[in-house]
Amino acid sequence: MELQTLTYLVVGATFALYIGIAIWTRAATTGDFYVAGKGVHPIANGMATGADWMSAASFISMAGLIAFLGYGGSVYLMGWTGGYVLLAMLLAPYLRKYGKFTVPEFIGDRYYSDSARVVAVVCLIFISFVYVAGQMRGVGIVFSRFLEVSIEVGLVVGMGIVFIYAVLGGMKGITYTQVAQYVVLITAYIVPAIFISLQLTGNPVPPLGLGSSLVDTPGVSADGVYLLERLNAVVTELGFAAYTDGQKSVIDLFAITAALMVGTAGLPHVIVRFFTVPRVRDARSSAGWALFFIALLYLCAPAVGAMARYNLMDTLQVGAVGAPDGNLLYEERPAWMQRWEQTGLLKFEDKNGDGRIQYYNPTGMSDALEQQYGWAGNELTVDRDIMVLANPEIAGLPNWVIALVAAGGIAAALSTAAGLLLVISSSISHDLMKSTFARNITEKQELLAGRIAAGFAILIAGYLGYNPPGFVAEVVAFAFGLAASSLFPAIMMGIFAKRVNREGAIAGMLAGLIFTMGYIVYFKGIFIDPIGVNTPENWLLGISPEGIGFVGMLLNFALAFAISKMTAAPPREIQELVDYIRSPRGAKAAVDH
């Protein structure tokens, strides 16, 4: 069957599945709408968390980043998984015991302050919209590449689907749709990874394939050389940094990893998933299941990255480096390159006019060598985001695998978008309306407000996806930095430090927020032009804007403790609330709140 028809069929079938689930699991109460009635099985919740967490960035971009950064890409692997350890041990069980609906609600109650709650809502909405804009963009791109419709049409279809199950089903609908989306996205990721690992190393398990030796191809003996060893040799010969070595400084790697870990643990749409399981012990085991389902993809990603890089280099460098016929003739380029050239994500410019593709790093190669080879600069620009999507084509896999990857990319983007839209709508209807500004509304009105807010949030998300503010790529650091420097410390101290009071928490959140925001804006410029030049020499302690959330977090903790020491201890009932949260007994009763 033709690829086009096949893709329509596979993507259409998954959409039908999501909508079917949404109708079957409609939300009837605010409890269903916000926390799925707290009746989700920990394994199902683990899968839903996996889909919720793994966005278009994890599915489409991460392996590509690793492919080009090599060892430097490890910050994403460790950062985006290590946060689950913090989440499982420091937040999830206690927030489940607390037993209410939203993250700002906890912060507002624990610090007996509506101002703290509103600060938390502002952080939450900002973090979530930043994220959702990126997801909607991802939906548009996948649609336009695989279904050959315009980005606008892709966006409208994606918004329509999310609208149906987020607005109808609330958290309950989203949870079970995400379970289905997890299955689709993990299958779509692993199947091509297995094939590629088999082709290159003969090992069907991609994480093991990464450490295996290369297999012989017809006419060429690999001499049992390890994949990573060969890759290191190939890239360094062409002026790139060795694949298994770092390019970033140790302190920066440290700070970025820490900021991503703490940020992951502080992201509201992830935290709120642990409100949906029946018991405290389920919250603990569910965090384990979530990391297990995430690890399936995250352990394959480094293999996919390295193998994609190897395949790319191998395709382009057909002979010895510097030999007149060492590089691929442009006329003989494979079909997948021609297809990606049409999207503009892959570009060739014949700088030395020899009709061959020279792909190398000019800054890492001596001028003498360049002259000797007759090279006049790198001639191929490859967008990092195409590596995962192009992988099945590069490896020559059957069309159904390509169709599956399209469905997987859309599932990854839609599931995350839905989770984000829900935390936005619940913090508006529950935190801002029901509990702060319109306390008299009935449950029915609150539910309606939640649905209307979700509808509006989708429209804004669609608009942001269509007109992405130039800074979308920039602000991902923002989202993590804010979550790390404001929400995470406030929640953690709320559980582990009884003495921290309202004054300390609010000052800590604001200081973390303003410092982190200021630093990122200073170097990256959001709404205004950057003030400082974004180079390692100018950074504070050598920490890049991506990692500065870690410093913001330390500042938050330090200030909160210092100010709490100088002001009155929290009232007695708050101290009792903390004691109540710390002991698991009685969590089930909290269901009827």
């Binding site: 060892y71 490890s74 390890y226 990893t257 603990r284 384990g288 690890a295 698991p584 007994r585």
Partner: protein, 88 residues
């Protein structure tokens, strides 16, 4: 009686903190330690086709994270029962 209960709650909390601190120490050692600070030194050791520091950074730490959460959940369930604070 109430006093007695309070000390039991405090003991439970201390045992909990010890468990968490132990887990976080391992968490720190595999990721920030083996994966970043000592990665270059460990890269001198090859395990199969992997330089060891690189392996910890890209795969090993994730596997250890998962084992840590499993251990934590198991141990906390035991503590819950031991201190009679488990859910009924």
């Amino acid at each position: 009686m109430r006093n007695n209960l309070d000390t039991q709650a405090q003991q439970y909390w201390r045992a909990n903190i010890r468990t968490v601190l132990g887990c976080l120490l391992v968490w720190f050692l595999v990721s920030f330690g083996a994966g970043i600070i000592f990665a270059e030194a460990l890269n001198g050791i090859m395990v199969g086709g992997f330089p060891l520091g690189f392996w910890f950074a890209q795969q090993g730490s994730i596997v250890v994270f998962l084992l840590l959460i499993i251990f934590y959940a198991w141990r906390m369930n035991r503590l819950d029962r031991q201190f009679n604070v488990d859910e009924i």
